[in-house]
């Protein structure tokens, strides 16, 4: 009831002034809108996501449906991208593979962003010894080369598990290895923000600590977190593809773009059946590129200094 009154009154106020007030998020959108390349990235990404989500409506086949009378077929009207050595429709597998690849990207990015911003936030806010311990830990994680470590963990943890479980293990591995970069950024942000006078002012007004964190600190770092989430999603898709290509990520029969590119490891396939490795390769390229474009566009749009 009270909020309704306030809303009505604030609308009245806006009518008085005519001039519209521009909030920070609206400004981000206005700046983002001007970037054609970033918008292109968003459109490509939306198409990829929609085609993965609505895969069952776009193809009559199921991804695991084998047809031994029609193996290794070239692209035709029935099978747009041909079939693989088990007679599975390749276009269908590409769509369903997108589901897995994008999901791995989203969930690993989510894990990495959650870990990174929580650890960075705690380190920055409490400082001192806590900060020292957490940041040294982050540096340790950071100083291992990603691929050898990921391969080792994957080989040890994911040796005898079902393909489904393997997918989640891959998400965990990627998420848990890629948070240190973000944690450093968030820590730096919180460190500088907590010295800002508006935080002191809130303290002087008697606002409790948790509200200061939620209302004054986090909203001021959220821009960086969003950008970093987008970029780490692209990295996660790349990492998943790399691991799956090497046979240590998501394993068949679950299709992903990464393990579909595996066909290129066979020299005969590489030369004679390009439809088996070009489409998933292009899909990875498009996904990673569009997410990176989106991330870059967001970064420029969120940074108030890049006003052009």
């Amino acid at each position: 009831m009270d909020t309704k009154v306030i809303v009505e009154e604030s609308q009245e106020l806006q009518n008085i002034t005519k001039e519209e007030s521009v909030g920070p998020w609206k400004m981000v959108w206005l700046r983002f809108k001007k970037k054609k390349i970033a918008l292109t990235g968003v459109i490509i990404l939306i198409i990829l996501v929609l085609s993965a989500v609505f895969a069952p409506f776009l193809t009559p086949y199921s991804p695991d449906e084998m047809n031994f009378s029609n193996v290794n077929a070239a692209p035709s009207r029935q099978n747009w991208m041909g079939t693989d050595n088990l007679g599975r429709d390749y276009f269908t597998r590409l769509l369903y593979g997108g589901r897995v690849s994008l999901m791995v990207g989203v969930i690993s990015a989510f894990i990495s962003v959650t870990l990174g911003s929580t650890i960075g936030g705690i380190a920055g806010f409490f400082g001192g010894r806590v900060d020292n311990i957490l940041m040294r830990f982050a540096e340790i994680v950071m100083s291992f080369p990603f691929l050898p470590l990921a391969i080792t963990i994957s080989a040890v943890v994911g040796a005898n598990v079902a393909p489904e479980t393997k997918m989640y293990i891959v998400m965990m591995i990627i998420g848990c290895l890629s948070w240190p970069g973000l944690s450093r950024i968030v820590r730096g942000q919180i460190l500088s923000l907590k010295e800002q006078e508006f935080v002191l002012a809130a303290k002087a007004l008697g606002i409790p600590n948790y509200k200061i964190i939620l209302k004054h600190l986090i909203p001021n770092t959220i821009g960086y977190i969003i950008v970093s989430a987008a970029l780490s999603m692209a990295n996660a898709i790349m990492a998943e593809s790399g691991l799956s290509f090497l046979g240590l990520g998501v394993v068949p029969p679950t299709p992903t773009w990464g393990n579909m590119v595996q066909h290129a490891r066979n020299l005969h396939v590489l030369r004679t059946r390009p439809w088996l490795w070009i489409p998933p390769g292009v899909a990875i390229l498009l996904a990673v590129m569009s997410i990176n474009l989106l991330g870059d566009g967001l970064r420029d749009a969120i940074d108030p200094k890049s006003n052009n």
Binding site: D2, A201, A204, L205, K215, P304
Partner: protein
């Protein structure tokens, strides 16, 4: 004599210095050492001094934004430095602060109405339409328009932002305000507006100010009494006319002689102090000012001078005043 609104006794604030991997405690930055003063209701006490002499730290320690190392602060008889969370919460409504930098003192992500209303909501003072009304009232007495409530800080100029900062401090209807260099970051013409606003508000609302500044002319304009700080100590404290007309401490004399005069023909005897302000982590022995004092004697190096009343309500700390 009536009890003063604010009584500060021997306030100390040391910031510890930690070094090395194990963060060993190797020393202290003595930002504030032995600051004592009283503030009467409705009065303005100016606090001047060089950068780094502990003016701002004094102000922040009074509000417990920085925890004091030692000393006693009494607000209306209530012990501020040892107040429990609940009592401190009540004190927050009485004591507020205005900051120097109008840019970093406002959260860029919340509207002006939200910034001013946040504390009112936190302390459950107003609700619904009354809250809205109170926010507008405060904003208007600070010289802003009612439609500004839905705007964000980046839509305002420096002077307007400083008005918002004042409005935020006034929302809770406090009676004591620490003004931490409120005009140092503003243009001279805007400075005058803000100073006049603060003086009007003082008259209307009966406020008391602790006005921290390094600008002696501004302090002279707004204050009733003025304290001069050097390296964490108050070296001289007097009514403003006494202080500006008959300064006792050599440091005050040097400061006053450095005030620019808008007349190129006037001859002035500027006392130029040698060297820099010493490090507060390793202050000089005896009188801290002896390293730069033009009239320093042997006794100054050995003994710290007492802070004594030399004329009526005119305090100073120097061995050589009587001589």
């Amino acid at each position: 004599m009536t009890t003063p609104l604010l009584e500060v006794k021997n306030l100390k604030k040391y910031f510890p210095i930690h070094k090395g991997f194990l963060r060993r405690h190797v020393g202290d930055v003595k930002a504030v050492e032995n600051v004592s003063f009283i503030l009467k209701a409705g009065e303005t006490l100016g606090l001047v001094g060089e950068s780094g002499c502990g003016k701002s730290t004094t102000g922040r320690t009074l509000l417990r934004l920085v925890e004091a190392t030692a000393g006693e602060v009494k607000y209306n008889g209530i012990d501020v430095l040892n107040a429990k969370a609940n009592d401190l919460r009540k004190l927050r409504r009485e004591m507020q602060i205005i900051f120097q930098d109008p840019y970093s003192s406002l959260n860029p992500r919340i509207t002006i109405g939200e910034a001013v209303g946040e504390a009112l909501r936190e302390h459950n003072l107003y609700k619904g339409a009354a809250l809205k009304e109170r926010i507008q009232e405060v904003i208007e007495i600070c010289g802003l328009a009612d439609y500004h409530v839905n705007r964000y800080p980046h839509e305002f100029s420096g002077g307007q932002r400083q008005r918002i900062g004042i409005a935020r401090a006034l929302a809770l209807d406090p009676s004591f305000i620490v003004a931490d260099e409120p005009v140092s970051a503003l243009d001279v013409s805007i400075q005058a507006q803000i100073i006049n606003l603060m003086m009007d508000l003082q008259e209307q609302l009966g406020l008391s100010y602790l006005f921290i500044s390094h600008d002696l002319s501004v302090v002279k304009h707004i204050s009733d009494r003025v304290g001069v700080m050097y390296l964490g100590d108050i070296v001289e404290l007097a009514n403003k006319n006494d202080l500006y007309d008959t300064p006792l401490h050599p440091y005050t004399k040097a400061l006053l002689s450095a005030i620019p005069v808008p007349d190129p023909k006037m001859k002035r005897n500027i006392i130029i102090l040698k060297g820099d302000i010493p490090s507060p982590s390793n202050p000089p022995s005896g009188c801290k000012f002896h390293t730069r004092c033009p009239i320093a004697q042997d006794i100054c190096k050995e003994e710290a001078p007492e802070f004594k009343e030399y004329a009526k309500q005119h305090f100073a700390a120097c061995h050589l005043i009587d001589k």
